[in-house]
């Protein structure tokens, strides 16, 4: 269940227009001071959008579902396992990837209460709700309530662990492999994995 967005208030429009002007001035000043160029900015945006993909997270999960050895290595050292698939996690700075596995009676949910830490390389650009005050404040206090907002219901007997990300440690949920997928190929399994499943707000 998703909430319908209200039209932004007039003040939000003004605020966004103000920010756009501030950015324009800042870029012009930085360019004049030879700190950076417009072209470098465009390239940085393109490169980010090209490399930060939820498909990377899905590849990791599908491999873990079909290869028990990989799963073991993934849970022991997320960075090394991602590197096996040619996925570089270093986005701005070296970050440690910790993969947390769902299982019978066990569900995991990821949040960053302080800001917005998130494995961008594996999940793509983070959604606004992940960065919102509502999610950051409630996820640690009422994870079942948050899951219900996504239409996700886990049994009362399932223990939910909430992982609070930091600048140094990023988390990824390893969902349970859905029943009845024994005959699917690795590529078909990848297609089942959703971004929200990797954050823990959805089941796969």
């Amino acid at each position: 269940m998703s909430h319908v967005h209200e039209e932004p208030h007039a003040s939000a429009h003004e605020s966004s227009a103000g920010a756009a002007n501030r950015v324009k001035s800042l870029v012009a000043a930085l360019e004049a001071a030879s700190v950076l160029t417009e072209r470098q900015l465009d390239e940085a945006i393109e490169s980010f959008l090209a490399h930060a993909q939820p498909a990377n997270g899905a590849r990791i999960v599908a491999r873990a579902w079909v290869d028990p050895g990989f799963r073991e290595r993934l849970l022991a050292d997320g960075n090394a396992a991602a590197a096996e698939l040619g996925i570089d996690l270093a986005h701005w700075a070296p970050v440690r990837l910790r993969v947390v596995a769902n299982g019978p009676g066990r569900h995991n949910l990821i949040v960053c209460t302080l800001c917005s830490c998130y494995p961008l390389a594996l999940l793509g650009p983070s959604p606004t709700w992940y960065k919102s005050e509502a999610y950051r404040s409630q996820a640690v206090r009422d994870p079942r309530g948050i899951l219900a907002e996504f239409g996700t219901h886990v049994g009362a007997d399932v223990e939910i662990t909430v992982w609070d990300s930091t600048a140094e440690v990023r988390y990824l949920v390893l969902p349970e492999r859905p029943a009845g997928t024994e005959l699917l190929s690795e590529a078909e399994l990848e297609a089942l994995v959703t971004r929200n499943g990797l954050i823990g707000t959805a089941l796969v």
């Binding site: 470098q40 701005w92 709700w129 960065k131 919102s132 206090r141 907002e149 600048a167």
Partner: protein, 91 residues
């Protein structure tokens, strides 16, 4: 003492707004803020810790009134000034 950014467990910020098929950025300027931060970090003008500290040091009322990328913009403007990236010496 915790500051406003330390939101875990606080009340009163709900409900959650979930946008389906959300674009990576809602405005061109947001993408540029993201890229500015990336380039300034990469070129060592400031560190990620300094960036976070600059976001977290926003006065609480300003922090809550600002959108996510407005907070980033505030931090970048602050750091560019503090680090003298744009220093123009009076002639």
């Amino acid at each position: 003492m915790s500051r406003v950014h330390d939101m875990g467990g606080q009340h009163g910020f709900g409900p959650l707004a979930i946008e389906s098929d959300e674009p990576p950025f809602h405005h061109e300027w947001e993408a540029r803020v993201f890229a500015l931060n990336r380039l300034l970090l990469r070129s060592g003008r400031y560190t990620l810790d300094e960036f976070r500290a600059a976001v977290e040091a926003m006065p609480p009322a300003d922090y809550l009134a600002a959108s996510y990328y407005e907070r980033w913009l505030h931090a970048i403007e602050t750091l560019v000034r503090e680090k003298g990236v744009l220093d123009v010496r009076p002639g």
